[in-house]
């Protein structure tokens, strides 16, 4: 079982992102689970969401404390919350940022593999959200697919088409662009 934890802020779409990733894995025949950390939703407030992907039935129903993968939609959260707490050894961290991976340090994590993708710019290019608050959940899933190899980009696109009823194609294209831009 692979456990993925998403960190974002209200309005960025972390919860929907965790759901789309689950649907993508489902299309590859996996058992999946996706759920939010159930806060009272406010724009800008820190939001956590979870995805589990497994070959077997998923019976566990608690939060994810020791993730294999961290997806950080807003890099300003890195100072605000101890995000990498519990990340498994050699775990992967995907950050929405223009910076280079080497510019981030996670002292709590053992040998983390850090990836960055400028998802905000890509999302803006495809008109997702506004300049102040781009909606980057679908975009970053392209980067997640590339960095982790958990799901194929085709499955991500299929899941976006299923779960995003409006502006579907720009969302799908943004994910593909992030997938292509990320270097592993």
């Amino acid at each position: 079982m692979v456990e993925i934890r998403f960190h974002g802020r209200g309005g960025q779409g972390a919860v929907k992102g965790s759901d789309i990733l689950a649907v993508a894995a489902f299309h590859e025949g996996k058992e999946v689970q996706a759920f939010p950390f159930f806060g009272v939703e406010r724009r800008g407030a820190p939001v956590t969401a979870f995805t589990r992907i497994s070959n077997e039935e998923i019976r566990i129903h608690c939060y994810i404390y020791d993730p294999d993968v961290l997806v950080i939609l807003d890099p300003t959260l890195i100072c605000a919350v101890p995000l990498s707490d519990g990340l498994k050894e050699n775990g992967k961290i995907i950050i929405n940022s223009m910076k280079e991976p080497s510019e981030f340090s996670f002292p709590d994590a053992k040998n983390p593999h850090v990836y960055t993708a400028d998802c905000s710019s890509i999302a803006m290019k495809f008109g997702l959200g506004t300049q102040e608050s781009p909606i980057i959940n679908t975009t970053i899933l392209g980067a997640v697919a590339k960095a982790t190899g958990l799901v194929k980009i085709e499955s991500v696109v299929k899941a976006i088409r299923e779960r995003i009823p409006t502006r579907t194609e720009p969302n799908a294209q943004a994910a593909i662009e992030a997938f292509e831009q990320l270097h592993v």
Partner: protein
């Protein structure tokens, strides 16, 4: 057909698959999406049902009672404060022997205002005569809604049923759910056709004054129907298994046969406990889980059989019967009255507090090292 769905969608699709005739419900977090999706399904003409908008939960159940009395199949859903507001009519629906199916998203009672998981709301409806059950996952939600119509509408039962799912841990969690195909569902669940109903061509008065001469016997018959439900739940669970490949019972034993320690629980905690059991077995602790699906009727005999081999039994409750102990713990203790098994009553996860595999390992640790205790608060903070 398989889909990735939240527990709330699974509940709504269950009612749709059962081809209910009348739906009446009032929105409340975290149940709201059940009402939303059903109103869409009805508006889109995918389900030929009457969707009755009401001004309160009390009216929602009143509406279902009236509709069900005419021979319609009905569905409603609520949560917490909404369930409490229905209370008067919850008794009424059961004593009128109307097999209404209600989904309750288990949410804590206020104050403090909480939208998070806690079973106190449904446990408070214990003695109303409703069949009451708890779901572990979204597939079980869908399957149970379907099975419940068949169980409740059985001539020897004719009681309403309350299906509970944990707030957010199921209601807002996406999982893979098999929705089967319509033809097979229709083969499993036939039309509702009660013996007596409101019918202008054959008039009857309902719910009239009942003197001490008869009231007692009606109560006797309610209990008899609950006991009959034990057999019917088993039969329907078997039949469901033959058609859809998933067999259900009142309880589910997980690695209990050789277990020295058995944890008893319900809802999503039972699922997390299964995961924890696998981990603990890998490190040599011989532990199992008994998941209780039905709180009413209570599966006394099955519980005695399943727990008999255990050296120690722990019960995990996401609810408290204040001034006593955990409500499921009370049931287990009275069920095991004739056994000398040491019992541990754990309270965990109140008001949506997460219950992790680590918490469950902690409980097993207490069972291994400490003397038996009726009330152990897991994770309570700052108690001197």
């Amino acid at each position: 057909m398989k889909k990735v769905l939240t527990g709330n969608f699974a509940a709504a699709y269950g009612a749709t698959a059962a081809k209910v005739n009348v739906i009446s419900a009032y929105p409340i977090t975290p149940q709201t999406t059940i009402v939303e999706i059903l109103s869409e399904i009805v508006a889109d003409g995918e389900l030929n049902a009457e969707f009755v908008k009401v001004e309160s939960e009390h009216s929602a159940l009143a509406c279902c009672i009236g509709a069900q009395a005419t021979g319609a199949r009905t569905f409603t859903a609520t949560s917490s404060q909404g369930l409490a507001l229905m209370h008067e009519l919850i008794h009424w629906a059961a004593r009128a022997r109307l097999p209404i199916i209600m989904v309750n998203v288990n949410r804590a009672m206020a104050p403090g205002w909480s939208i998070w998981a806690d079973a106190t709301d449904s446990i408070s409806q214990r003695d109303t005569g409703w069949i009451q059950m708890y779901c572990e996952n979204n597939q079980e939600v869908f399957d149970t809604v379907l099975m419940s119509y068949k169980i409740s509408e059985s001539e020897s039962v004719m009681l309403p049923a309350l299906i509970n799912l944990d707030a957010f841990f199921l209601s807002h969690t996406s999982q893979v759910v098999d929705l089967y195909n319509e033809a097979r569902i229709d083969q499993f669940l036939s039309k509702y056709d009660p013996k007596i109903k409101l019918d202008v061509d054959d008039p009857h008065a309902f719910g009239a004054l009942t003197s001490p001469e008869h009231y007692y016997e009606f109560s006797y018959k309610m209990h008899e129907a609950q006991i009959n439900a034990i057999r019917v739940i088993k039969e329907v669970g078997q039949e469901f298994g033959k058609i859809f490949g998933r067999t259900y019972d009142l309880t589910e034993s997980y690695r209990c046969d050789d277990a020295e320690l058995i944890l008893v629980s319900y809802g999503t905690i039972a699922g997390t406990a299964k995961e924890a059991v696998d981990q603990m077995r890998n490190s040599g602790i011989v532990v199992g889980v008994l998941k209780i699906r039905y709180f009413r009727p209570f599966p006394t005999e099955d519980v005695i059989k399943a727990l008999h081999p255990a050296k120690k039994v722990g019960v995990i409750d996401r609810a408290v019967s204040y001034g006593q102990s955990g409500p499921f713990f009370n049931e287990i203790r009275s069920t095991l009255y004739h056994e000398s098994t040491p019992l541990y009553g754990f309270i965990a996860g109140l008001g949506g507090r997460d219950v992790s595999t680590h918490d469950i390992e902690n409980m097993v640790d207490i069972m291994q090292n400490d003397p038996a205790q009726d009330l152990i608060w897991i994770g309570v903070k700052n108690v001197d």
